[in-house]
Subunit: 221 residues, 2 copies
């Protein structure tokens, strides 16, 4: 028997399909802060009942992407400057540790993939993809760490701020700097200099934090 098999037990339920779709829409900023998420509307657009929608919303709430009030419903969770600031500090701590663990385990093949992601980011013209490409570059490097729990937490924290990063990338011309810093990180990895890669990653994140905070504060003034 030579079939292209699929583990059907692992196929997605309606709830997880809706969850993924909403998560993507929120992370990519398609759904704005504070925007209400009506169960009925969502159910209609996915052609299901409200039950799987509610499950998706509870997942999103657990991830901090929406906030719910009893009998009032769910809205896309916003982020105060303080919260954003804290999450950047968190990322700086965690991601620098992750890349430090990853560098000694990076294969030439992985470094090649990372480099191609890096140039893809550098040469991308459609702002809608910048956020995704940026994340792919970092995720590729981090994946070598072989620390699944750390990575899941990193991804979670990234989800919380991704919208703002994207918006900011599109406004100021932070693209050049991001590029420069990516290249520096990549070179440190290729040189197997874990401490340097960690230091550069930390600086990269702290720079993004400063830039985002400027943006957030001016937008809400």
């Amino acid at each position: 028997m030579k079939l292209r098999t699929v583990d059907i037990a692992r196929t997605a339920s309606a709830a997880t399909i809706i969850f993924e779709a909403l998560r993507k829409a929120i992370v990519e900023g398609e759904l704005k802060d504070g925007e209400p998420l009506r169960q009925d509307d969502i159910a209609r657009s996915f052609n299901t009942s409200r039950i799987p929608v509610r499950e998706a919303l509870t997942m999103l709430e657990q991830q901090g992407l929406v906030t719910t009030q009893r009998y009032k419903g769910a809205v896309v969770a916003g982020l105060s400057a303080e919260e954003a600031s804290e999450i950047f500090d968190f990322r700086a701590l965690l991601e620098s540790a992750v890349i430090r663990a990853a560098v000694p385990k990076m294969s030439p093949a992985l470094l090649a993939r990372a480099r191609s992601h890096c140039t893809a980011f550098a040469t991308a013209t459609d702002p809608a993809h910048w956020g995704e490409l940026n994340r792919e570059f970092h995720a590729t490097l981090y994946s070598a760490s072989d620390l699944p729990y750390h990575l899941s937490v990193v991804n979670n924290s990234l989800d919380r701020i991704d919208r703002y990063l994207r918006a900011q990338l599109e406004l100021s011309n932070g693209m050049e700097r991001a590029n420069r810093e990516h290249l520096a990180i990549l070179e440190a990895c290729e040189a197997s200099d874990a401490d340097e890669a960690a230091r550069l990653t930390r600086a990269h994140i702290e720079g993004a934090k400063a830039s985002l905070l400027r943006h957030l504060r001016q937008e809400r003034s």
Copy 2:
């Protein structure tokens, strides 16, 4: 109007009540690894329908405390030695950073509370409470950090391993060492020595890791 008011909008839904109860039972080890969680049974014991039960299970799955398979149901999530090891490394990184941030903000009142929790832990005779008291001591110190996101992540990672820590505390006589280390951490905090408190916290967690791994490996041999 001088009434003792309560924000009724914040009262718990059936789903969150069930979630908290299951979470507690799992974290405290009352429900063992791999134990199936039947929606119908749980619904009956809480006198509800399966809908809020399913919501609770969804939340638990997001937290990594249960694993679900489509049409097969949820079981209490176990932890391999590798996963446990990684989570301890994660905690060592994160909690040492948190306490470093907390030390300069600790008021005398908070330190007094921490000390009372410390002695409560030291003098507790009922093993069923050790885990709780241990956690309260640390949580009190960490709370001064004023880093809510960090703390929520810390609590999450603690939930994942708490069962095992409790079991281990009860088996080996690690209580004395935990006590000694708690006192040392507390004294560093009282002396406003943030770096020392961070160092001791890291050592405290790494010691627990070694002890737990010994326990896990021998139990599964």
